[in-house]
């Protein structure tokens, strides 16, 4: 079963949970947290996406984490772009 460990100082833990819900259709996903990291386990993976599932999930969480950070920064700075 593939597993992905995402460090909380690099990835937003809340985003990991959100993205995990999006991928429920292609795998059974369990998300565990400890003080430093979020571990994502993928079970019952759809064979069509097995090769790229973990990589795709990692990119997805990264993109959403950066978007979240930028949105927060824009709110703080009053940026209306």
């Amino acid at each position: 079963m593939p597993e992905l460990m995402l460090h909380k100082s690099l990835y937003d833990a809340a985003v990991v949970h959100q993205v995990a819900r999006l991928y429920e259709g292609v795998a059974t996903i369990a998300v565990d947290e400890d003080p430093h990291a979020v571990t994502v386990r993928f079970d019952d993976v759809d064979p069509d996406v097995a090769d790229v599932l973990v990589d795709h999930f990692g990119n997805h969480v990264l993109v959403e984490t950066v978007k979240q950070a930028n949105a927060a920064e824009q709110v703080l700075m009053g940026d209306s772009r």
Binding site: M5, H7, S9, L10, Y11, V52, D55, H56, G58, N59, L62, V63, T65, V66, A69, M77, G78
Partner: protein
């Protein structure tokens, strides 16, 4: 700075399928690393990890077929983009106070503007009430007193020229 010099500063290893760069967070802020990584997600699978304190490992796995040369080039491009992002972060930090100042000024000037509007309204009522155009014209300004000691004779009081 040449690519060779860059790659000497940013250590990377590749195994034929992916390339990994280990970055010191003292030199490359986390936001810069995330910003550069974000720009590579369309070309590569990107994974970030923490091999040690204040260190970030960036693993890039190209989405298509690859070889060692392409991986080295990818690492070099990432390093260059990382420098761009570091600069962006540093400029953001150095201009942060200015942005805060302008934000505060924007809020403050709303109050100031209403005060100015109020003062102008008072002036309109007191001084310019009978002036349709509300333009100050020279013929309306009061003439100085004729007996002012520092000034010359008033028009009409001059002596006629001698014949």
């Amino acid at each position: 700075m040449s690519d060779d010099a860059l790659q000497d500063e940013i250590a990377f290893v590749e195994d034929g399928r992916r390339v990994a760069l280990t970055l010191d967070e003292e030199l490359y802020p986390r936001d810069a690393i995330l910003g550069a990584a974000y720009l590579f997600v369309d070309r590569a699978w990107v994974f970030l990890s923490r091999p040690g304190d204040r260190q970030v490992e960036v693993r890039l796995k190209p989405k298509g077929d690859t070889d060692s040369a392409a991986l080295e080039a990818l690492a070099g491009e990432f390093a260059n983009e990382l420098l761009n992002q570091v600069l962006r972060v540093r400029i953001g930090e150095s201009t942060g106070r200015i942005r805060e100042y302008y934000m505060a000024r924007a809020f403050f000037s709303t109050t100031t503007q209403s005060s100015i509007d109020q003062l102008l309204a008072e002036l309109d009522e007191e001084e310019l009430a009978d002036d349709d155009l509300e333009i100050s014209v020279p013929w309306d300004t009061p003439e100085p007193a004729a007996d002012t000691p520092d000034e010359g004779p008033a028009v009409g009081d001059e002596e006629p020229p001698r014949a």
